[in-house]
Symmetry: C2
Subunit: 344 residues, 2 copies
DNA sequence: TTGTAGGCGTTATCAG
DNA sequence: CTGATAACGCCTACAA
């Protein structure tokens, strides 16, 4: 700013003695401007303190440098990790992130989608594959590339990156079975679509081994927390006192179960096996360390942005790409019954 | 959209048979448009699917409905809670949040400040009172209200809401002393300015009781984690085997200390008192429950937005407001030595 | 490599 | 209460 009024392109241009468009070019496509001019212009920009006006740019070019990111929760540390990846990848680029928070409501997601698309974003990152019908069609007619994260599935809008929650839960359950547990229990909270698919994975693996029982399932719509894990475990063990292992749909619950087991003097892993999901940092640090399913959240955010940038560069080219980041069952002491133990 | 091209104000206007400005007014200042027209216009908007262009609005009015939020980290659950409060408060308003992530770097903060201010935000929420000199002066000359969160201190730019990290740490330390601990240790990670002030609070309280010793201090620039808590505790107890209590600058570290204490069969709270900071949900759920300093993060985010909206409404009125949200030492079993125990 | 004209969609200003 | 006109700051085209 200079005497209150905004410094514009033409101010810079006038200072250097060229036309505004040249300054614009020096900024956006430097290779089209002579070196000499470029230097003068850059000096003038510093001197005058010119800051481009994104609104004017957006209006004139009907493009923005904004990448919209729509996720269900900012508090959930799973998304926090994804966000960290996103911010890291975006940092070296001229793009900005605009964050939207659906709070697990498809309706809110739809609204956000409308608002975001109204801003002509350069690209969009959305969470999951469970958009409402209207949401889905908004995405399909979007004039920017779209990346769906957190999950793999059928029919990507453009690009999809994540892993199969079904398979991940299935693998964890198989691990419990391999460790010799027979009375497998399932603990779920929030029960959004991704959680449901984890339940299906558990159910499938347990049923295949003839070990599934409705009695050993506890779920709630409430959001997860450590204390909720303790509480649900109390319910669970009342329903089914003979249970010998719990698969929890996330690590908070698992930690709550472990604390409750300690309170009740149930030895982990001998009397009770515990498996979490996500493999938050604390799982390896816990005493005993808790088995969990590692997922690649930071990677996911980072690569989502990278692929999006590519798609932006070529113009919506990637239609149909699916990247499965996989998962990894981290076997730790909390499920090391009988066998010789675990890594970590 | 209709046949690919964007629906504009004038499209709506033409449809109704009025001029564009009337439609604009029907949207922004309905009371200045006759009821009849308002209804027709609103019908036309729905029919045509008109979505206002924020860029055009911003350019024409040099105003936006964007509230910039600049915080050091998205992963840290402390800020996640603040964000939740912010999003909640903003939800019912026409404002949007634009998030910036400094990663604890004053330089990055400065850059973000410049970018954000270039967007003519309606308001700004920044974290803390430790802006760089240039950052500070950017804030002071900003043409929008500014709220500083997380902390109280001298010289608010406009509005400030938070609590005293110094006093909070001091109170926690006094609690440890009152519980009969005498060999007080301090554990800190990241050691950003807020953490430093917590250290000062600890030091002051300990020194006043003649209980401060450099030997029982361990700090690192690394970011906190549960496993780091375990690791630092190992260092600490090597340096000072006789320590009987640890004040940790956050709950992750405290949890790590507790796990390590369990591993070493050090009884908590008898042999070792543990106190965390922030009072994350898991602290009350842990076994034993861990003493911590509760802070009002959700509230802080929510009220920051509310105060900001007020200031926006009146136009930068609030200059000088300081809101101290206080804190609360949650006394739990992890520091209940000798005495009869704790609540929770 | 540089410049000119015109317009992006909205709102401010001033009239009626 | 409604309308005409002129910005807002930049970029797309086309031209030189």
């Amino acid at each position: 700013m200079r005497d209150g009024r905004k410094v514009t392109l033409s101010d810079v241009a006038a200072h250097v003695g060229v036309s505004a468009i040249t300054v614009s070019r020096a900024l956006r496509t430097p290779e089209k401007v002579s070196l000499k001019l470029r230097e003068e212009i850059s000096r003038a920009i510093d001197l005058l303190g010119y800051v481009p006006d994104p609104a004017a740019r957006a209006l004139a070019s009907s493009r923005t440098d904004v990448i919209g990111v729509i996720i269900p929760s900012v508090t959930n540390s799973v998304f926090a990790d994804v966000l960290r990846g996103i911010y890291t990848a975006v940092e070296k680029t001229p793009f900005d992130i605009q964050l939207g928070n659906t709070r697990y409501s498809p309706l809110k997601e739809e609204k956000l989608l409308k608002v975001f698309l109204g801003q002509k974003p350069a690209g969009l990152i959305v969470s999951g594959i469970d958009q409402s019908e209207r949401g889905r069609s908004l995405l399909e007619t979007a004039s920017c590339p779209v990346v769906q994260i957190m999950e793999t599935g059928e029919n990507p809008v453009d690009i999809m990156i994540g892993f199969s929650h079904y398979e991940a839960a299935r693998a964890a359950t198989i691990h419990l079975i391999e460790q010799g547990y027979r009375k497998l229990a399932f603990m779920g909270a929030r029960m959004d679509p991704r959680t449901q698919r984890r339940f299906q994975g558990f159910r499938q693996a347990a049923a295949e081994a003839g070990l599934f029982s409705e009695e050993r399932v506890v779920t709630t719509a409430e959001p997860s927390s450590v204390s909720l894990g303790s509480q649900l475990f109390c319910e669970l063990i009342e329903q089914a006192p003979d249970l010998d292992a719990v698969f929890c749909i996330n690590d908070d619950l698992a930690l709550g179960v472990m604390f409750e087991a300690q309170r009740r003097r149930l030895s982990v892993p001998d009397r009770l096996g515990i498996c979490g999901f996500n493999d938050l940092e604390m799982m390896a640090a816990a005493e005993p360390p808790i088995t969990s399913v590692r997922t690649f959240r930071y990677e996911m955010g980072k690569r989502a942005v990278e692929m999006l940038l590519e798609a932006i560069a070529v113009g919506r080219g990637h239609r149909g790409t699916i990247v499965d980041l996989g998962f990894e069952v981290r076997k730790r002491a909390s499920t090391a019954r009988g066998s010789c133990g675990a890594s970590d």
